[in-house]
Point group: C2
Chain length 190, copies 2
DNA sequence: GCTGCGGGAGACAGATCGGTCTTCCCCCTT
DNA sequence: AAGGGGGAAGACCGATCTGTCTCCCGCAGC
């Protein structure tokens, strides 16, 4: 209620922002509910009023991650290219900047999927969020008139995910390597 | 001691085999020391005599994973190809079989790295084990006379890791997609 | 002014965590 | 036969986990 209050004043929003920072950097199991409570300055009962269980909080975190990280990345790539092909390749330019940031925190969807497993409800949600990313790539592939847009998107996604893991290992040039292979893949699908 | 006793009779070996099965399937944090003890039929003091801390047990698990999984995969690939290029491409044939197994358990080095983070001692050990895999690829690239073997191995590794994540998501054809891109990469490095 | 409710603070519960310690027993060596 | 060490069983410790509960305050609507 009352839209003139800054969103961060709402306890639910403070909780979600705190959880975002903690979960995206340290994972799910390594962050306890108590820490989220302490750092968001909220009562425990308040957190459990808005999120009935930690799992619900994690699902809300993944939703927000899609709203900010996924959408943000795609919009940044769209701004950097005029054609669909340029926009596709610009994804790895965005990745290149991202991999060099000191607060690089990898891909939460991959992290959560591997941490919780594909059978866990949270892992299944991560799979859906990864599918959404692939859907965006597929849309750009169609826009570019490439053949087999679904297969193209799946191969493209392999490059995205592999480069993220390599960046986590410390290879800051992973985005450029992936982009070079991405160009070959585009040629193959023309 | 006494080499005529089956290795599984040794408590240390039983612990390590049990830990291997649990850690590789469910990760590190999700598996407690108590469960390793219960399923290996060993006393708690015995585990802590052989492995001073859980971290030491995890490091031993990663070592064994390299001895069995990494070496096993490379040897299987070597058997499937006559030339170095064929052996490189055969890696993804081995992956293809692996991705279709019902007990597919992804790559423990990636899992542990993402779960514990690159700063954790266990995460750093995972990075070293991943470097060893890349070293093997680099060796085959040199044997094949490809240019820039190190850059080739890093790009190749992106395909390997990306396809493993895709397989975890459920894409059983990830290995074939990666292999198709791998062929393009080889052409680029001839 | 009164009431109701959202929220803050924190005690509490029950389970589990990694890790230590004691007790007993069995088997090997001398 | 005596001794010693490794191993099994499990109590125990302090910390931490998710989740529930109580108590109190401050504010908004009637």
């Amino acid at each position: 209620m009352i839209a003139d209050r800054p969103p961060s004043a709402h306890p639910r929003e403070r909780i979600l922002q705190t959880a975002y920072g903690l979960f995206s950097r340290r994972g799910i199991r390594a962050v306890g509910v108590d820490e989220v409570i302490a750092r968001s300055g909220v009562a425990k009962a308040t957190l459990y009023r808005h999120f009935p269980s930690k799992q619900d909080l994690v699902l809300a975190f993944l939703e927000r991650r899609e709203q900010t990280w996924t959408i943000g990345m795609v919009e940044a790539a769209r701004r950097r290219g005029d054609t669909a092909v340029e926009q596709l390749l610009a994804i790895f330019d965005v990745f290149d900047d991202w991999f060099r940031r000191d607060d690089f925190d990898a891909c939460s969807f991959i992290n959560v999927l591997l941490e919780m497993g594909p059978d866990d409800p949270v892992g299944q949600a991560s799979i859906r969020h990864l599918e959404n990313i692939r859907g965006i790539v597929r849309g750009l592939a169609k826009e570019a008139g490439l053949r087999d847009p679904d297969g193209f998107a799946r191969s493209w996604h392999i490059l995205m995910k592999g480069s993220i893991i390599s960046a986590t290992e410390g290879d800051c040039d992973a985005a450029r390597r992936a982009q070079a292979m991405a160009k070959l893949l585009i040629e193959q699908h023309r």
